[in-house]
């Protein structure tokens, strides 16, 4: 069990890293892009870059807010 936990923690750290919000925003951006493209027939090429920029800015804001 301990080894399984360590294995899971290793892969979480490897893929998700320090801030899970980044991964969540990227996945949300991809899902919304797919929905807009396939369901609404909108060529939403601009949506994922917006989510990516927002993820970086949000994560940096969280990491530095109130710090000197």
């Amino acid at each position: 069990m301990k080894q399984l936990k360590a294995f899971g923690a290793f892969w979480y750290d490897f893929v998700i890293g320090d801030d899970w919000h980044v991964a969540a925003l990227v996945v949300a951006g991809l899902a919304l892009t797919a929905i807009l493209t396939h369901a609404a027939k909108v060529n939403a090429w601009w949506l994922l870059p917006v989510f990516v920029v927002a993820a970086l800015a949000w994560s940096l804001h969280r990491a530095t807010a109130g710090r000197k």
Binding site: V22, L30, T33, R67
Partner: protein
């Protein structure tokens, strides 16, 4: 697409990873024992080969659309992690990754650890440290080579970039027998972060079904845009830090 950006991206990413692995191996080998260190390195390389052999062909069998969504998402997340760290380091919110101090930390820990013989390895500490260091940095190399190579249908070019980087760092490491402190790691990480994020965004969106204006040429816009955003973030955090420092004495006066 031209193979040169692919080779250069993989090369820079792999130099960064190889330098970090070299620091751990040198600190362990010089302080403790080379034999167990090499055994740990060899075990890590065999593990990496097994993972590559298992994952590589499996990825090849995935449909291109699914592959682009999964790989795009992973690359974008990975790239944003690198960008985040590089921006925080460039603005002083996080300590710069200094190979000299990382080396000293490893050396101090290695000198204090007890010696233990286990499973035919004379120094278990050296073995596990070298194994973990090479495996972790190597996994990132394997991930970048497979994802970039497979998406561009040019695994050969990605392997050339990675092999050149590892060879170069190994040769320089053997020559100087010291951590490579002169490598501008943070700026290289920033460049790789920009490339991984750009390629990830491009492939991910393509996998989700969009058609980029100008097809592959859109990457020539996406990459500079991500680079400019990273630059703006550095400017933003510098300004924010300066504002906090300037406002601190004023609030202290108000408080007193």
């Amino acid at each position: 697409m031209n193979a040169l950006p692919l080779i250069l991206t993989v090369f820079i990413a792999c130099v960064v990873e190889a330098v970090e692995a070299l620091t751990i191996v040198l600190a362990t080998g010089i302080t403790r024992e080379w034999r167990s260190t090499f055994q740990g390195m060899a075990a890590a390389l065999v593990t990496l080969a097994v993972i590559t052999a298992a994952v590589g062909p499996a990825i090849d069998h995935l449909p291109l659309t699914a592959l682009r969504v999964v790989v795009g998402a992973l690359l974008a997340i990975f790239g944003l992690q690198w960008l985040r760290k590089a921006v925080l380091r460039a603005t002083g919110y996080k300590a710069l990754h200094d190979e000299a101090s990382a080396y000293l930390r490893e050396v101090t820990a290695a000198q204090q650890a007890a010696r233990e013989t286990k499973r035919g390895v004379s120094d278990w500490y050296s073995f596990t440290l070298a194994f973990k260091g090479v495996l972790l940095e190597g996994l990132e190399v394997v991930f970048i080579v497979i994802t970039f190579g497979d998406n561009q249908k040019n695994i050969g070019a990605a392997v050339i970039g990675a092999a050149a980087a590892i060879l170069l760092v190994t040769i320089v490491g053997i020559a100087v027998r010291a951590p490579l402190t002169k490598v501008p790691e943070n700026w290289m990480k920033l460049v790789v972060g920009v490339m991984l994020t750009s390629f990830g965004t491009f492939w991910g969106a393509e996998g989700a079904g969009v058609h980029w204006p100008g097809n592959d040429a859109a990457l020539l816009v996406v990459i500079p845009v991500v680079a400019v955003v990273a630059g703006l973030c550095i400017y933003w955090l510098h300004s924010r830090k300066a504002a906090v420092i300037v406002s601190a004495p004023a609030s202290e006066v108000v408080g007193s």
